[in-house]
């Protein structure tokens, strides 16, 4: 009997057997202008030589799994002979779902797992709960923690006490990596070069050049300076997928501060975009989304918790999700929460070594837990009792 851990995200599936390592695989299908007849599924994305104008077909909408046709095609590939070769009758699956997942989607998930794929047993759980499990294992004297999951679709802030999530404290900010990339595409398209169709390329630009500012208005001043004084400015060389396979930032010594470049490369000149884009995680109102940013929402969530728990939450803030990889993210969260928190409370913000795979690691740990057998719902259980048994056992 083996256990497959699948953190089923809207952008990436983090998947692996609990006794092996994790793989990070795109959770979707793709079409390319150059390979016109083929649809690429999940890891087949690597086969595309020219991802310009790449067309995305994703099973998730606004962070929830709505398109089962696409999801099943991805899972067929992941569970099949090219990848994990799952022997369903002999496999448990630990699979993640978003907070407050709709009951209709949960029911469909049960049907797909038990009636279609016929896993021997399943445990459905929020990714943040797996992160909390991992955190409490690493910090076993702590009673409370608050998990920030800032990923592709949105950002959730969730307090946990003694392993249980505190539903009243859950806060969702509707800013995620997808929105950041789309906004970057828009401003580049308006200011420099039409890139609205280039999600793949601009997402790479975002990951390569963007950072979180520690002093927003100071960076804004520096970004407006001319010539070499503008230490924020970067020139990014776009890939052409023949001689330049991957985009990159020109080193400062090679930048041309006075005139135009003589070479044939396509170059983006980025100044305030570098830090104004991730800033949306801290001030969604910058773009017109009337919601709190991450530090304010953290403090707000903690303030809604029982008073005796509050200092414990401030001491155990955990950052997960792809957006936390922006340079400066952790320090900025710390500085802002420290400024808003009561002075007598200790504030500690932890960024794990791999924030994208942290929930998966928690899933692996859970699968090795002696109580694991009691947490799952078996296929026999489901066939006898239906959705009811899943509603009772799983806390989504």
């Amino acid at each position: 009997m083996s256990t497959l851990v699948l953190d089923n995200g809207a952008n990436f599936a983090k998947i692996g057997y609990s006794h092996e390592k994790v793989s990070v695989i795109p959770n979707g299908q793709f079409r390319s202008k150059t390979s016109r007849l083929k649809t690429f599924t999940a890891s087949q994305l690597d086969e595309i030589k020219d991802p310009s104008g790449l067309f995305y077909i994703l099973p998730f909408q606004k962070g929830y799994l709505v398109n089962w046709d696409v999801q099943r095609k991805v899972w067929d590939h992941l569970f099949g002979k090219d990848m994990f070769k799952v022997d369903f009758a002999d496999t448990n699956i630990v699979i993640t779902e978003p907070y407050f997942n709709f009951s209709s989607i949960q029911d469909t998930m049960n049907e797909i797992l038990f009636e279609e794929y016929q896993f021997q047993s399943a445990l459905r759980i929020n990714a943040g709960s797996l992160s909390a499990h991992q955190y409490f294992h690493e910090n076993n004297s702590e009673l409370c923690c608050i998990v920030v999951d800032s990923s592709f679709s949105f950002t959730h802030i969730v307090p946990y006490c003694r392993g249980r999530k505190m539903k009243e404290g859950i806060c969702r900010i509707n800013v995620g990596g997808k929105l950041l990339t789309n906004h970057l595409k828009e401003i580049i398209s308006y200011r420099q070069l039409h890139v609205m169709d280039e999600t793949y390329v601009i997402n790479q630009v975002k990951e390569d050049v963007c950072y979180v500012s520690q002093d927003f208005y100071k960076d804004m001043e520096i970004a407006q300076l001319k010539g070499e004084d503008n230490t924020v400015m970067r020139d990014y060389v776009l890939p052409d997928f023949s001689s330049i396979k991957k985009g990159f930032c020109k080193p400062r010594e090679e930048m041309n501060f006075t005139g135009k470049y003589k070479t044939a490369e396509q170059i983006l000149r980025l100044t305030n975009e570098r830090f104004a884009v991730p800033e949306m995680l801290f001030h969604p109102s910058d773009i017109g989304i009337q919601e709190m940013g991450i530090p304010e929402a953290l403090v707000n969530s903690i303030n809604n918790m029982p008073e005796e728990m509050q200092p414990h939450f401030y001491k155990n803030i955990v950052l997960t999700g792809g957006n936390t990889l922006f340079p400066g993210f952790r320090d900025r969260v710390y500085t802002e929460v420290r400024a808003l928190a009561p002075v007598e409370y200790q504030v500690s913000v932890v960024l794990p070594q791999n924030p994208i795979c942290y929930p998966w690691e928690g899933g692996k740990l859970l699968a090795e837990n002696p109580d694991f057998e009691e947490m799952v719902v078996t296929r026999e259980d489901y066939e006898e009792n239906g959705h009811y048994v899943c509603e009772e056992k799983f806390d989504i």
């Binding site: 007849l37 649809t39 709505v66 806060c171 407006q224 109102s285 919601e291 709190m292």
Partner: protein, 163 residues
Amino acid sequence: SCKFSCSSHSDDLSSSVRSQDPNQRRVLDSATRQRRLTRQLEALEKDNFQDDPHASLPQLVKRLPQFDESNESGKRRKKTRGDHFKQRFRKNFQTLLEEEDLSVSEGPNYLTACAEPSKFPQRHFCAVCGFPSNYTCVSCGARYCCVRCLGTHHETRCLKWTV
């Protein structure tokens, strides 16, 4: 005027704002401005801005099965792969949310979990160059930082694509 290297417009200032008769510029009301903002935010949720490359292919070609779509375990798939299930498996987010009927549920749910508005004042940035903005376009409400950016704004975006 723009002190530093606001590079998003040309050096030609002949399309000066002052030459336009203020009585002739249309002014959008706040409802229209709100609709515009909502549309911009919805556009940021899109997965793609271009069309599906397969959309223009003839139907016959699209029916060709991919090599890896072989029906190895055809038996167990009959339950959930019929046409009836297809409708249920393709509902969009808005439909699923409405079906959840959260207005009658008690306790925290998807809607109540949404973050509240910030207590901090909103910051404003020039719609053209992205630097901090002190001024608002009279016609459409877009922010700008200097006369040159306003000129660019009038030429390119102001009052275009208005619902």
